[in-house]
């Protein structure tokens, strides 16, 4: 699936919910199901400090695809993080660097990407894109 196909899929998933509770219950579920990042990757280097919650992001090349794993200590952020990972992970660095993310806005969750939320999500997204730029043109077989 392309980045946009995944985004569209998420958007249609969320169309099923007509109130905030079911929407957030779904995000909380996504957060609960998202596999935790192994402790060894919860390093100072991988941490993205929001003001309130912590987000960890680990990136590695698998062939010519850039992959992400992530985690957060707050469950709603974890759910949101899982969506960002689902959309962006496993694409080429070029695709990630040039991706146009519209699904948060469409789902009505864009406030979580606002600067003031200080939940680390916006910084995480910037960091994912930065990895995309940094890894362009690289092919690696093992985790870097």
């Amino acid at each position: 699936m392309t980045i946009n196909e995944t985004q569209d899929e998420l958007i249609s998933d969320f169309e099923l919910f007509d109130d905030w509770e079911s929407k957030y219950e779904y995000i909380i579920d996504l957060g609960k199901q998202f596999p935790p990042l192994q402790e060894q990757y919860k390093t100072e280097e991988n941490i993205i400090k929001g003001c309130q919650s912590k987000v960890w992001l680990n990136a590695y090349m698998d062939g010519d695809l850039l992959k992400f794993e992530a985690d957060s200590d707050a469950i709603i952020v974890r759910g949101l993080v899982s969506m960002l990972v689902k959309v962006l992970s496993g694409h080429t660095p070029e695709e990630i660097a040039s991706a146009n993310l519209y699904f948060m806005e469409k789902i009505g969750l864009h406030q979580h990407l606002a600067q003031t939320r200080s939940n680390g999500l916006l910084s995480m997204l910037k960091q994912m894109k930065a990895y995309g730029f940094a890894y362009q043109g690289r092919t690696v077989n093992s985790e870097s």
Binding site: Y24, I76, V77
Partner: protein, 408 residues
């Protein structure tokens, strides 16, 4: 709930309380961050811009005279608010933070030397930590911290043990923003003076709840922000004892703060203007008077009594939330209720309350060392003001039940 205030009428004074947030009527419980502003304050701001906007202290025309008179009236009003002996001891600042930096950078840099000690407490806001750290780093002074007990009260014995002839400055928070604790500042000041140290009080939180008398307290400096007392953002005052302010060098250089400027030498203006370089925040200074008048019309003791009844009600009510633990159980407290819930991140609590139209603050409240003391990363904080109601607290409790249900 018995009180002398007509809360319905008071709520009508605050237009913002009608706002709809996420489809629900706003419940605003983030008053320790900033209070909402009554209509009289909003009108004072627009009234100034509509009718007599002019730069002050310099013009000879009508508007300038009117603006200058209103500006200086505000200063006298603030003098009265703190019971300061003289209007010259009231310096307009951008807020509490600005006032503390002013003292650290002028008094501190002039009078503190290597090896001198500065005492703060474990419950300080970052704005009463960082300016002193910067000073200590520059001058080679030592920063000491008064510890607290598990209820969030200062350990006064430990404080006394820290005081020596090396102690030159004590800077403590009058009321804690994270815990609500009212500190025994009079005793802190008296003890500090016994060893010859000067004392600054961070009055950011105290000034909206308590009556403040700087002469009775005998504090050397008192810094506060008007935006926490139903007044405008971007302005505050620093009270300082005249003999100290006179002995201090100026802070910022520029217009207003000078008497005469030549390229060889500048002589500085008198107090309080010596510390007020440049065009000040005229509109907000003028509006500040209206905020204080508003508070006085209601009566600070009435406000305090009502807020305390809200705090008691809320403290009782949250007991029914399983796994909830209150952080800050001081005997002397203002209407701040900080808590953690077992297994639930404070940010999740905040997001889900926001969805229900309830505004609380979550996080470390700019007191990271204090959070570390309690071994937590943050709390959820509901802080109450005079326009809040028990019905709103009921909504908070319902909201928390929902949070528990969704995250449990």
């Amino acid at each position: 709930m018995s009180n002398n205030l007509d809360i319905t009428a008071i709520r009508n004074d605050f237009p913002i309380l009608e706002e709809i947030v996420n489809g629900k009527q706003l419940v605003y419980f983030d008053n320790a961050a900033t209070t909402q502003k009554p209509k009289v304050v909003l009108d004072a701001i627009s009234g100034y811009y509509e009718h007599y906007n002019a730069n002050i202290h310099r013009g000879i025309h009508q508007l300038a005279e009117k603006a200058t008179a209103a500006f200086e009236d505000s200063r006298k009003r603030l003098q009265q608010f703190l019971n300061a002996p003289s209007f010259e001891e009231i310096i307009f600042t951008y807020g509490t933070t600005d006032g503390i930096n002013l003292v650290a950078q002028t008094y501190g840099r002039k009078f503190l030397k290597e090896g001198d000690e500065v005492i703060i407490s474990a419950m300080e806001h970052h704005s009463n930590i960082v300016p002193w750290q910067m000073l200590c780093e520059e001058k080679g002074c030592i920063l000491k911290v008064i510890p607290i007990n598990d209820d969030g009260e200062l350990l006064m014995d430990e404080y006394e043990a820290l005081l020596t002839e090396r102690t030159k400055f004590v800077s403590v928070v009058h009321v804690s923003n994270s815990l609500g604790t009212i500190n025994p500042v009079k005793e802190i000041i008296r003890k500090a003076h016994e060893v010859g140290a000067k004392v600054l009080l961070d009055g950011a939180q105290a000034s909206s709840h308590l009556s403040i008398d700087v002469q009775d307290l005998d504090c050397d400096f008192y810094s506060l922000s008007l935006h926490k007392i139903y007044g405008p953002t971007g302005m505050g005052i620093l009270f300082g004892k005249k003999e100290l302010l006179n002995a201090m060098p100026p802070y910022r250089g520029g217009g207003e703060m000078i008497k005469e400027v030549t390229f060889e030498k500048t002589t500085y203006n008198e107090l309080p203007y010596k510390f007020e370089a440049g065009t000040p925040n005229i509109a907000d200074v003028i509006a500040a008077k209206y905020a204080l008048d508003y508070v006085d019309t209601l009566g600070k003791p009435n406000i305090a009594a009502y807020e305390n009844s809200l705090l008691e009600y809320a403290t009782q009510a949250v007991m029914e939330i399983e796994g909830l633990k209150i952080i800050g159980k001081a005997k002397e407290k203002v209407s701040v209720l900080s808590f953690v819930i077992d297994g639930i991140h404070h940010q999740d609590t905040g997001v889900l309350l926001d969805q229900q139209g309830i505004a609380v603050r979550t996080g470390h409240h700019c007191t990271q060392p204090l959070m570390r003391r309690f071994n937590i990363t943050g709390t959820t904080r509901a802080s109450f003001a005079v326009y809040n109601t028990t019905a709103e607290i009921d909504r908070l409790i319902q909201g928390l039940h929902k949070v528990k249900k969704m995250l449990g």
